[in-house]
Structure formats: C-alpha cells, structure tokens
Amino acid sequence: MFQYWNDYFFVVLFLLLGIFLPVAAIWVLGPLLRPKHPTVAKNTPYESGVEPVGDAHVRYNARYYLFALMFVVFDVETLFLYPWAASFHQLGLFALTEMLMFILMLVIGLAYAWRKKVLEWS
C-alpha cells in the first residue's frame, strides 16, 4: 500500500516544483534583474505596427464548437476503452464483442456527423 502512495506523493512533489519554478523565476528573480519602464506606446497591443482598431475582447465565432462536442463524445469513448484494453486478456471474447458493438455505434455517429458536414471547417 505504502508503495502505491509513495509514487503519487512523488507526482505531487513534481506539481509543487513545477509551480515553484515559474513563480520563482517570474515573480522573485525576474523583478530584480529586469528593467520596468512602461510607456503608453509600448503598452498598446501589437497590430502589425498600426494603431489597434477596437478591442479584441469581442464575440468571436468559435468555429470549433461542433468539434468540441464531437471531442467530448470521442474522448469519453477513449476513456471507456482504456480499462477495457488493460484487462482485455482476462475478459476474452465476450468483452471483445461488446466493445466492437460500442465502437460500431460510435462509427455510425462519426459517419452521421461526416454526412451532416459537421467535419467541414467552413
């Protein structure tokens, strides 16, 4: 049991170290080394060298909205496939048939989306 938790504790240690490095470099070490002379012109957003037109916090057409829905479907599917794959050698033919039916249904879904032109980026 302790062996099991030790490894996850190590992962948490990585997480803390991963947060520590950018915080130390950007907020602690950085301000000591870098200059800070903001001017109005320097702080304008970059827009190919001309004065920026309007604001960029606009309602932007997220074209991948439908892709995101598809992503949810197929990513959850992948999540179901992982435990099945890991224990496949114990489950045998029955699990194979079940999973083939599951995959078949998703393929039908993919074909439907394809036919409905959801997969076009237009």
């Binding site: 302790f2 062996q3 938790w5 030790n6 490894d7 996850y8 504790f9 190590f10 992962v11 240690l13 990585f14 997480l15 170290l17 991963g18 947060i19 490095l21 950018p22 470099a25 950007i26 950085g30 080394l33 870098r34 800070k36 002379h37 903001p38 109005v40 320097k42 702080n43 304008t44 957003p45 970059y46 827009e47 190919s48 920026p52 960029a56 916090h57 997220a62 074209r63 991948y64 892709f67 995101a68 598809m70 992503f71 990513d75 992948t78 496939l81 992982y82 794959a85 890991a86 224990s87 050698h89 194979l96 999973m99 995959i103 998703l106 993919l110 394809w114 997969l119 076009e120 980026w121």
Partner: protein, 334 residues
C-alpha cells in the same frame, strides 16, 4: 540504521525522511535535466536545420556556438516584462504557468531508466500522460484570450481546435499498445516488449497515428498553425515578452522531451537495449525523435486549417479505430 541507500530506495518502502530527501533530489534532478535538454535541443534544432539549409547555424557564442541558448535565456531573463494595457491582467499573468505546470508534471511518470529513483512508477501511467497533457490547452487559450490582441485571439482559438481534434486519435493510438501489453503502467509496457518485439512492428498503424497526432499536439511543423509566424506573427504569445514568453517556449520543448519519452516507452522498448546502460538507450531514442521532428520542420510546409481539421477526423480517427479493432481481434485469435 541510516545508509546512503535509504535515499534512493523510497519506492517500495514506507516513506521516511531520507526517502523524502531522495524524492526531492530526484525531482530537482529531473527539473534541471529537463532545462538542460530543452536548451540543447533548441541548439541542436538551430544547428541541424542550419546544416539542412546549407548554413552553419549558431557558431559565435562559445565553441561551435554551444552557449548560444544560454545567452538567449539570460537575455530573456533581463528583458522588460511588458504587460500591455487592457489585458485581462490575472489571466495574462497566470497563463504561462497553466501551460508549463502540466508539461513538467507529465515528466514525473516517464521511465528514464530501469531504476525508479527519478520518476514515479504509477499504475495508470499512459492515461495520466494523456489526461495531464490536455490541461496545457487551457494555458494556451487563456494566454490568447487575455492578451486582448487579435492575432493572439485567433492563435489561441486555432490552438484549442487543433489540440481538441488531435487529442482523440492520440489517445486511441495509445489504447492499441495498452491492449497488447495488458497494462497502463509504462514500466509494465516496457517489460511486455522485452518478452516479444518492440511494439512499433505489430502496432505500426497505431505508431503512425501516434506520431502525426503527437506532432499536432505539440504544435510543431507541419501543424504549427497556432503560432504561424508568417500569418499570425506568433499566435497566442504575441503579447508576451521576457520570461513569460520563455515559459511558453519552455512548455513546447518540455513537451518535445515528454512526447519523445512516451514514444520511446510505448513503441521502442523504453530503456531496454543491449550492451549500453538503460538511460543511454533512452537518451538515444529521444535524440532520434528530436532529430526527426527538426527534420520535419526543415522539410514540410504548413498545412491549411481546414485540411488540418478534416485530416484528424476523417483519416486519423478511423485509422486509429481500425488499428484498435485489428489489434483486439488478432489478440483473441492468436
């Protein structure tokens, strides 16, 4: 009874203070190693692409330009950290950290050598990688959105669309390997390959899908649309300067290391190999992966956005599914 061994044998023992110190040392070693690898992979990228394009590449700082990247990092550290007006300040400041932390976190499970002193031997290894690496999308999108810059917004949106689309085939191609090995544990997958062959041979279809989807996940050429220099000037990190920009770059190259490690583990037998020590085999395999990526970068043009999206959903996903079905059926029959 305290010995030096207590430091390095924390795996499989109740956690003690020496064990904790050993863990901490291991994590710091991996952090420093990652930074070193990132610096020299950038150097190697510039040098290698230079040779391919009949140039010399960096050769001014230090012998053969070996300290070029060190100079670049120092330059970024002393650069002014410009925070433009009208940015969403909190998100703008946090986005590079959101991007970097998962990149570093996935290194914690890559088995760099046979002995697990420096990385964790967790049971859900492959799934952990896929799950954690997906978090980086948030950092990239937040960076693009909070910059209040149109280029950054387009870059961030493209990036989200791309990473979402290629996440699915990437995950599916790994399932094929899990199916053959019967375990999610990365060390278990290496052990399973020692008994048979490297999985690149039976899983060649899955391997091809994995490499293409992995390249797209890392936003590398020919899938570098999110930071397409020639059309978006830099994509989601246009407004970033100094060390915040450096952390976005660091994320990209740490992922290169992690993806190379994952590929070596899943398809090329990890640290297993004759004569040489395990870590050296692992380093050689990762180096070949790096060189392959830089070769792609020097060779291929960038593909178009609509081509990229349909390529993932109409070709890679069906291929990955077919690979999965074939692998499962063959495993039952044989």
């Amino acid at each position: 009874m305290w010995t030096w061994n207590n430091l390095w044998h924390w795996a499989g023992h109740p956690l003690s203070w020496p064990g904790f110190v050993g863990m901490l040392v291991g994590a710091v070693v991996i952090l420093l190693l990652a930074l070193l690898v990132v610096m020299y992979s950038i150097y190697w990228q510039r040098k290698f692409i230079g040779w391919m394009q009949w140039r010399i590449g960096p050769n001014r700082v230090g012998p053969w330009g070996l300290f070029q990247t060190v100079a670049d990092v120092l330059k970024l550290l002393v650069k002014e950290d410009v925070i433009p007006a009208n940015v969403d300040r909190t998100l703008f400041l946090l986005a590079p950290i959101f991007a970097f932390v998962p990149a570093f976190l996935v290194l914690s499970i890559i088995p760099f050598s046979a002995h697990h002193v420096f990385t964790a031997n967790i049971g859900i290894g492959a799934l952990f990688y896929v799950a954690i690496s997906a978090i980086t999308i948030h950092g990239v999108m937040l960076g693009g959105w909070s910059s209040n810059n149109k280029w950054a917004l387009i870059g961030g949106m493209r990036s989200a669309a791309q990473m979402l689309s290629y996440e699915v085939p990437l995950g599916m191609s790994i399932v094929g390997v899990v199916l053959m090995a019967g375990t999610l544990n990365l060390n278990g997958i290496i052990a399973a390959q020692m008994h048979t062959v490297w999985y690149v041979i039976p899983q060649i279809l899955g391997f091809i899908v994995f490499v293409i989807a992995g390249t797209a996940e890392m936003n590398r050429t020919p899938f570098d649309l999110p930071d397409a220099e020639s059309e978006l000037v830099g994509g989601y990190h246009v407004e970033y300067s100094g060390f915040r920009f450096a952390f976005f770059m660091l994320t990209e190259y740490v992922y290169l290391l992690a993806m190379g490690g994952l590929m070596a583990t899943l398809f090329f037998g990890g640290w297993a190999g004759p004569f040489l020590p395990g870590w050296l085999w692992f380093a050689i395999k990762i180096f070949i992966f790096f060189t392959f990526q830089f070769w792609l970068q020097a060779t291929l043009p960038r593909i178009r956005q609509d081509q990229m999206m349909s390529f993932s959903w109409k070709l890679l996903l069906p291929l990955a599914l077919a690979n999965l079905v074939i692998t499962a059926v063959v495993k039952v029959l044989v």
